[in-house]
């Protein structure tokens, strides 16, 4: 019998975190989040957040940040802050790797703005990869409280794009 509090029992030790990192590496995951009562962990791959450019060198998970320490995410500063606290509402998640656009063209008005109400069918942004312009729908209803990515910046698979309430 180990003498540990329930929280400690749920928490991960260093060995388990290393196993998680290996698992992320194996499955090419860039973000891993886990949350339980009294415990929370966010692992992110790569210090310099450049998801659209993969180097030929083996992918390494050098700067995985246990306990959600904000990483030096050059490409996506908002995402770094996002990882640092518990999301209070719902999030629209990127279904693919690509470049994030808030509007159909530089001259057009953005698809959505903070404070706007959306339904499941509302187009919220475009994600482009290999010149495929993919319109992303909210897939949920609510009010946009935060746009987490800057126009023209890269996004990863599974990365939160918008926060809703």
């Amino acid at each position: 019998m180990r003498e540990t509090s329930p929280q400690q029992e749920d928490a991960l030790d260093l060995k388990e975190i290393k196993e998680l990192i290996a698992l992320m590496k194996k499955n090419d995951l860039s973000v891993f989040k886990m949350e339980k009562e009294g415990f929370k962990i966010t692992l992110k791959k790569g210090g310099d957040f450049q998801p659209m450019i993969s180097t030929a060198a083996p992918m390494h998970v050098a700067h995985a940040a246990p306990m959600a320490a904000p990483s030096a995410a050059a490409g996506a500063p908002t995402e770094a802050t996002a990882a640092a606290h518990v999301p209070s509402g719902k999030e629209i998640i990127s279904p693919m790797v690509g470049t994030f656009y808030t509007a159909a063209s530089p001259e057009s008005a953005p698809y959505v703005e903070v404070g706007q109400e959306v339904t499941a069918d509302t187009v919220v942004c475009i994600i482009e990869a290999m010149k495929v312009m993919n319109e992303i729908k909210a897939e949920m209803s609510g009010t946009i409280t935060e746009i987490l990515i800057e126009n023209g910046k890269p996004v990863q698979f599974g990365q939160p794009l918008f926060r809703l309430k």
């Binding site: 993969s54 180097t55 279904p95 693919m96 690509g98 470049t99 990869a129």
Partner: protein
């Protein structure tokens, strides 16, 4: 006849055109043969021939030998396109607009109203033809091909980027068969003849339930000049070869290639990547790429298994580009 046609089954006019085209320049087709092969009443043939003549087809009628097609109008005719695409599995329906804002928008509207994969939308002219990020695409009437294809790919959304390489290869191969010369692919989605762009591709997709992708293609076919700065960057099949081309035959050549390649997108994509690599305009050249505000320089090498471009940096390491605008570096 002109504006709308189906492939399964072909309309009567499409069947008549198919038979006339199959016999073209060789022999006539009798009224009797036509009615039999088109599965229609002999009495109906004469009235349909009259209608085809009204649409601009020159059809000779010999008292003994029957009908012979002499010339087709320089117009996009839905039934004629359907007739020439008979046997394709992907192509299902042809729509021809005389003028529309953008064929991609029409295709997207059709998709939203539940239209199945394989509808092809042509326009003789587009008033708001566009490229990526709303960039204007010049689409003058009757000189080029401006069309969009509605697709519902049955592969995971992350792999829909394969459509870009698929489209580029299909278009390059289709054009090569028509001009009997090589076409190059400037990664990822431009077709070059010589050092100028002849084709633009715009793919717009919508993920989620009832997701779809619209493949928009603009081919410069018979233009003899381009306005302003385009003169230095754009070319047409006619400018490159010195010949005038039948736009319908160019469209059919491209769509037949697309029809043959589309099923390979899931399991035999490496064949499509190899065909794109063989036509690479950038390979071995020093290029610059703007990406998310960063400038990347390197020599273009091969494509990876998903069609992304591999760049070799000056220090010998490589980077793989999935996005961004690649231009040849000025030396």
């Amino acid at each position: 006849m002109i504006f709308r046609s189906n492939l399964k089954p072909l309309t009567i006019d499409a069947r008549i055109l198919r038979e006339l085209r199959n016999a073209k320049s060789h022999s006539h087709v009798t009224n009797c043969e036509l009615s039999e092969r088109c599965e229609t009443q002999p009495g109906k043939i004469a009235s349909r021939i009259a209608a085809l003549r009204e649409a601009g087809y020159e059809i000779e009628e010999h008292p003994h030998f029957g009908f012979r097609l002499l010339a087709a109008p320089d117009r996009l005719i839905a039934d004629d396109l359907a007739a020439m695409l008979d046997g394709c599995t992907l192509v299902r329906e042809i729509l021809v607009f005389q003028r529309t804002d953008s064929t991609n928008d029409v295709a997207a509207q059709l998709s939203r109203s539940g239209s199945a994969e394989g509808a092809i939308i042509f326009a003789e002219a587009q008033s708001a033809g566009r490229g990526r990020l709303g960039r204007k695409w010049d689409s003058p009437a009757h000189e080029g091909l401006w069309f969009s294809i509605l697709l519902r790919p049955k592969i995971p959304i992350q792999e829909w980027t394969r459509l870009t390489t698929l489209a580029a290869v299909a278009i390059a191969q289709g054009i090569e068969s028509v001009i009997e010369n090589r076409a190059a692919i400037k990664w990822p989605n431009d077709i070059y003849l010589g050092d100028k762009k002849a084709v633009g591709i715009l793919i717009e997709s919508h993920a989620g339930e009832n997701g779809f992708a619209v493949l928009g293609i603009g081919v410069n076919v018979n233009q003899t000049q381009f306005p302003g700065v385009l003169a230095d960057r754009a070319t047409s099949l006619r400018q490159f070869t010195g010949h005038v081309f039948d736009r319908q035959l160019v469209a059919v050549a491209i769509l037949r290639e697309l029809d043959a390649l589309y099923p390979k997108m899931r399991d035999r994509f490496s064949e499509i990547v190899a065909a794109a690599e063989a036509r690479s305009y950038l390979r071995g050249r020093k290029i610059e790429c703007e990406f998310a505000g960063r400038r990347i320089c390197g020599v273009a090498e091969t494509l990876d298994e998903n069609g992304a471009l591999i760049l070799r940096n000056p220090d010998g390491s490589t980077v793989t580009l999935h996005s961004g605008e690649a231009t040849i570096a000025s030396i």
